[in-house]
C-alpha cells in the first residue's frame, strides 16, 4: 500500500514539475535537483541508518517506498517550492513559499508514518520541518553559488 501511494505521489511531483510555470532555467533546476539530492541522501543515511533517530521498515516494498521518497519526492518538492516564487519576489513571499513547501513535505512524512514505513525514535515532526526549511535554504545557497561561480565566474 505504502509503495503504491508513494509511487503515485512521486508521479504527481514529476508531472507537477513538468507542467508548472518554472521560474528557473533547466540548468539551474538540474543543479538544484542534483545538489538537494546529494545533501538529502547523505543526511537521510546518517539520521536513519547511522544514528537511528528515525527507523525504517525492512520490508522490501516499504523500503522501495522510502527510496522513492528520498530520491524523487524530497528533491522535487524542494525544487517545485523554489520554482513557485519569482526570483525577484520579496523575502517575505519567499519565506512563506518555503514554509508552505516544507509543510507539504511534512504531510508526505505523515503518510510514511501512517503506513509504518518509518518511525520516529529520537526525532519529531518539528525537527523534520526544520530540516525541510533548511533544505530550501540550501537550495537558495546553491542558486547563489551557481550564479556567482558558474554564470558570472566565466562566460561559456
Amino acid at each position: 500500500m505504502a509503495f503504491s501511494i508513494l509511487f503515485f505521489i512521486g508521479l504527481v511531483c514529476i508531472t507537477t514539475f513538468n507542467a508548472m510555470n518554472r521560474q528557473l532555467t533547466k540548468m539551474e533546476n538540474s543543479a538544484l535537483i542534483l545538489s538537494v539530492f546529494i545533501l538529502n541522501v547523505n543526511w537521510s543515511w546518517i539520521i536513519n541508518f547511522e544514528l537511528q533517530y528515525i527507523t525504517y521498515s525492512q520490508s522490501p516494498l516499504n523500503f522501495t517506498a522510502y527510496v522513492i521518497h528520498r530520491t524523487i519526492i524530497i528533491p522535487l518538492l524542494v525544487v517545485i517550492g523554489l520554482n513557485s516564487i519569482p526570483q525577484a519576489a520579496s523575502m517575505g513571499r519567499k519565506l512563506i513559499a518555503v514554509l508552505i513547501s516544507s509543510f507539504v513535505l511534512l504531510l508526505v512524512i505523515m503518510v510514511l508514518q501512517k503506513f509504518e514505513v518509518m518511525k520516529y525514535e529520537n526525532w519529531n515532526a518539528f525537527y523534520s520541518y526544520l530540516y525541510y526549511v533548511l533544505l530550501h535554504g540550501f537550495g537558495y545557497l546553491v542558486l547563489y553559488c551557481y550564479h556567482s561561480w558558474v554564470l558570472k565566474g566565466g562566460k561559456s
Binding site: 533547466k26 540548468m27 543543479a31 542534483l34 546529494i38 537521510s44 525504517y56 558558474v150 566565466g154 561559456s156
Partner: protein, 165 residues
Amino acid sequence: MTGIGNFSTNEISLILMNFGGYLLMFLFPKRLSREVACLSILSGLATGMLFDFTIGGGVLDFYRQNDTNHYEFFDVVYYALFGPAGYFFMYFYHMLHINKKSFIFYITAWALLALALQWVFTLLDILAYQNNYKLIYSFPIFLTTQAITGIFYEFITDGNQKEPA
C-alpha cells in the same frame, strides 16, 4: 558512524585516485562550458551516491565500502571520485561527437571501464561484496547510469554544446 577507520591501502589509494582525477580535470583543455562542467560533476556525484546508498546499503546491502558497513570519512572521499568520472564522461561525449549511432558503443565502453575500475576497487579493499553480490551484476547498473547520463547531457545541451570561449 566511524571516523577514518584503519588507515591502510584503500585510504591511500582513494587519496591518490582523487588527486589524479581532479588534477586531470584541471590539466585537460577546457572543452565544456562552465555550466555543463558543473552539472557533469554534480551528476557523477549524484549517480554514484544514488546507487551506493540504495544497493550498497539499507535492505539490500550488496557491498561494503572501505573498512566497515558504517558511514566513514573515506566513504565521502570515495564518492568524490564520481565527480571526475561524470566530468570525463561528458568531456569525451562532447569531444568524440557522440551521436545516436555511436551512443551504444560509447556507453558500453564506459560501462566496461567502470567494471574494470570496480574490480580494481575490490583488489584495493575499497569495495567488498556481500550478500552473494558479483561484479558482473554491476554491468547492467553501469549501462543504465551511463545511458541516463548521456541522455542528461543531450537534455542540458539540447544536443548542441558549444566550446567555451
